[in-house]
Symmetry: C2
Subunit: 260 residues, 2 copies
């Protein structure tokens, strides 16, 4: 083991509250110069906002230490779908697509790719229909999903996330989306490439037995589950075998030491 992939929400913090011992564990990794990449499916906030949030919790990292779906998508598109990308993403995350050639808004043909994020209230019929027309106008256009999350719990109630809109477009266009978010292997592979390690040299720490543990294992990366965030005891009865289960990320240094 030479590098660590760490999920943020549910592992380092739970909403606005830092997980006890998380800053110390991360400082330990940093002091040992163990390459560390934070991988998150968050598409509604840019990396800079996550860096500030962590700083406020006593965790000092750089934006380049975080891999988000927009970043992974930018890498993937440069390689596999060069040309104009039509972005359906919140304004706040547009900076994370720097370097990408973007199709002007309101145009409904000429996209080499159609990138779908969590637009929330931005999903008017005409907006979703424009994404659909862009796909139909070019049989080679790629449908790129920034994750497949079904919904999230906002203060005022449940809210549809990116996944349902991707499914609507897959069905309408008859095309499968490339998913650049956990648990997709393409996302984990982008993370490994950025760290410069093989799957067996890395370990993924997460609180979601499907998205984090099973997703990582699907890409050949050992997956460690923590009992924080969305963890429930029943997760262990779902037929997925984590490579280890820790009380929280605070136990990571001791566990790491035991494996070296």
């Amino acid at each position: 083991m030479r590098a660590v992939l760490i999920d943020l929400d549910g592992v380092v913090y739970e909403g606005e509250r830092v997980v006890e011992g998380a800053p110390t564990a991360i400082q330990w990794l940093q002091s040992r110069r163990i390459p560390c990449l934070f991988v998150t499916n968050t598409t509604s906030r840019p990396r800079a906002a996550l860096v500030s949030k962590l700083a406020g919790m006593g965790i000092q990292i750089r934006a380049s230490d975080i891999l988000t779906p927009p970043l992974a998508a930018t890498h993937w598109l440069a390689r596999f779908a060069p040309g104009s990308a039509a972005l359906f993403v919140p304004a706040a995350t547009r900076d994370d697509f720097a370097g990408l050639t973007q199709l002007p808004e309101a145009v409904d043909e000429g996209a080499a790719s159609v990138v779908i994020g969590d637009l929330g209230e931005g999903w008017a019929f005409a907006t979703l229909n424009r994404a659909f027309r862009l796909l139909m106008a070019n049989p080679d256009a790629r449908l790129v999903a920034l994750g497949l999350t079904r919904y999230w719990r906002a203060a005022e109630g449940l809210r549809l996330d990116v996944g349902p809109f991707v499914k609507a477009l897959e069905y309408a266009s008859g095309r499968d989306a490339v998913v650049l978010g956990k648990p997709s292997a393409a996302f984990f592979e982008t993370a490994l490439e950025s760290l410069g390690v093989t799957p067996a040299q890395a370990v993924m720490i997460g609180d979601d037995i499907v998205g984090d543990v099973q997703g990582a294992q699907g890409a050949g990366i050992p997956g460690v589950l923590v009992r924080t965030g969305k963890f429930r005891e029943s997760d262990l009865a779902r037929g997925i075998q984590p490579n280890a289960v820790l009380g929280s990320i605070a136990e990571l240094p001791a566990w790491w030491a035991g494996h070296h």
Copy 2:
């Protein structure tokens, strides 16, 4: 054979133009008192509008001679999901749900069923999210789809139809929709019930080898394909074997006579 199910668009008319010989063929069926039900997936227009359209083409039928997804859904809901229905359908078709207990608008819990039609521009994020919350608020609420059409061709370009929104809600809620439109067996069964015949006593005439012919055959009803509407020669190479292929509905009387 004792009764006929007939698709409208592509069989009786093509857009605003009547298919040559269709009025005569239908008059022949009426004069022989052969029970006849027009089955259509149209959810954007009420039955009364279809009756007027046909009258303008020289075809006299009553609203009760037409089975639309709203009608089929009303029957199905009365039987399998009594209670308040939350309707996500165009205002023009609300009359076709007469007799159904409807949940007041803006309420986001308490529905026994959530009925999804082709709302078009009505699909704002908040609207789709309300349908989702209604499903999540009641684990027993049924998701009812008025067809699964992917899209249609409007004057100004392609437009998403009901199907993609149903798929979004199926994915978000983890629930399968009951589809009350062709090619679903539940829809054809409602048609047979209304005619009072067994599947083998009926015949379905349509221009869509999947929605009409394969759908009918899936419910045990012989399916006859016509070479009008959306018919293409390549349809015959798709591995679906129609029970007969006619040039158009004009040939129905001669074909029927040859089978009696």
